[in-house]
Amino acid sequence: MMIQIEELYKTFSHVGNDVPVLKDISLNIHKGECVVLQGVSGSGKTTLLSLIAGLDKPSSGKVLIEDEPISKLPDLFASELRAKKIGMIFQHFNLFEHLSVGENVTIPLIPSGMKLNVIHEKVDVALHLANIIHKKESLASRLSGGEKQRTAIARALVANPDIILCDEPTANLDRENSLLFIDIIKELHSMGKTIVIATHDPLFDHLDFESTVIPMVDGKIVK
């Protein structure tokens, strides 16, 4: 099992009140599976992705990545696990606007201690895969929304992670770029990557490759 979630709860405190965001989530995602978490804004999709990535801690329950309980790992180990196994794609791309496309994609590999020529090779492979190699030297601030998203995809792929987590990846893209994004996801799926997409975009309802749509409402998975 690639991702295992057991009885997961997440509650935020707001002005002294407890606001439950995730309630009793249990989910198993196999290696190579593509899962689409569907739900309206506020249904808990992004929180669930953050917990899977180990960016946040649950209020209770388990999140296991290949049997490693990421929800319990100290920050140091959670960061290591994330760097090796998880690539993230965000709604707002989260690029460094003052850096070039190539530099943005290089960043995740800097702490790895790899040799520079190896890093350059990996960056080029990721840029090819995300179809953005032609913009390698361009500043991120000069890119269109679709190009920014493809840069973010390249950055997520550069460390060759087993798991790709996408948070509302097409929310800021037009239809044409959204379809291009789905094509890249299809390619990654065929490469055996485990993909989890949190979205409310209906384009993901009927993908032309094997995927599982999981509807979420008010922090719960609707069976």
Binding site: E6, Y9, S60, P69, S71, K72, P74
Partner: protein, 322 residues
């Protein structure tokens, strides 16, 4: 009110210590709660809440303990400054012996610093394990440190509120100077033997450190810091002051000696504390080897070189030894 308690340095010192104590008190209460209910294997809301609280406690301790290291330097600076108020005192030596609490307070502060260093080591190792393996040990060490800090705060208040600015105290030359026929050195040593032991122990510390003979290393380290204290006061210090009769561990902290005392004492105590804490935590936590060999080597070597340099420079300048 006592003139001493109204001096700027003492107000700042006591206020800072009180704030740190308040932070530590909060950390202590929370850590006791965490310690009682801690079970890392559980995935319950309580355990997750405890882990968040433990993280908060660790952050508070990292801050307050770092500040405590700076506070001892400020404490020495403050009592040195108080020598202007206390009749007969020429430096911190006279002020520290102005009442019966001063010496105990200074020794307690040095002991606390050792345990703080030990806590830092256990904390570092604990943070490097996936399951916070040393969390309980780290918390018990903190509980013990907190107890010492309570005593320290009481002694701080007792000490500063009982310094009588009308009662003359002895100056350092009276405190550390040789009384007729009396030998102030430990084990009946003479100065040449003290020096031989000083350099031999330094080499032994480095050798045992290199060869990972942890128990012997701990023993050599304790002996070295003890002998080094006497070597500085009764031999190297006289070259710092360029006066054979001036024997004092505190005067060298003053501006006229370029604050060299701070460099000497900090390198000696920090080097020793790091070495001891590393070795003790290695034994206690059953780790494979010590990890601070370079830091200890650099700090102790700096200390020995600085001491030796004063003698060498004096000799080259004057062609004689004191």
């Amino acid at each position: 009110m006592n003139e001493v308690l109204l001096s700027n340095q003492v107000i700042v010192y006591l206020l800072s210590e009180s704030i740190l104590f308040l932070l530590l008190f909060v950390a202590f209460i929370v850590s006791l709660k965490v310690l009682m209910k801690w079970d890392f294997e559980r995935f319950t809301p309580l355990q997750f809440a405890l882990e968040r609280e433990a993280y908060l406690v660790t952050t508070i301790l990292l801050f307050t303990f770092s500040m405590k290291f700076l506070m001892i330097i400020y404490f020495i600076f403050s009592i040195d400054a108080l020598s202007l108020l206390v009749p007969g005192a020429m430096c911190a030596a006279g002020v520290i012996t102005a009442n019966e609490y001063g010496s105990y307070l200074l020794i307690l502060k040095l002991v606390i610093l050792f345990f703080l260093t030990l806590w830092f080591y256990i904390n570092t190792y604990d943070m490097r394990t996936k399951n916070h393996q040393w969390f309980k040990k780290k918390s018990w060490v903190f509980s013990f440190i907190f107890l010492l800090i309570v005593i320290e705060l009481v002694l701080d208040l007792k000490y500063f509120s009982n310094i009588d600015t009308h009662l003359p105290v002895s100056c350092c030359s009276a405190l550390f100077g040789q009384l007729e026929g009396a030998n102030p050195l430990p084990f009946g040593l003479t100065v040449p033997l003290l020096l031989v032991l000083f350099y031999l122990l330094y080499v032994l510390v480095l050798l045992t450190l290199k060869t990972n003979q942890t128990l012997l290393y701990i023993l050599a380290n304790i002996l070295f810091v003890y002998i080094a204290y006497y070597a500085v006061v009764y031999f190297f210090g006289t070259y710092i002051y360029e006066l054979p009769t001036h024997k004092c561990p505190f005067c060298m902290l003053q501006a006229e000696y370029m604050y060299v005392g701070y460099f000497l004492w900090i390198s000696l105590f920090v080097g020793t504390y790091i070495g001891l804490s590393d070795a003790i935590s290695t034994l206690w936590l059953k780790l494979s080897h010590t990890r601070s060999q370079k830091t200890v080597t650099y700090l102790l070597s700096f200390f020995v070189l600085l001491c030796t340099a004063y003698v060498a420079i004096y000799y080259f300048k004057n062609g004689v030894l004191l």
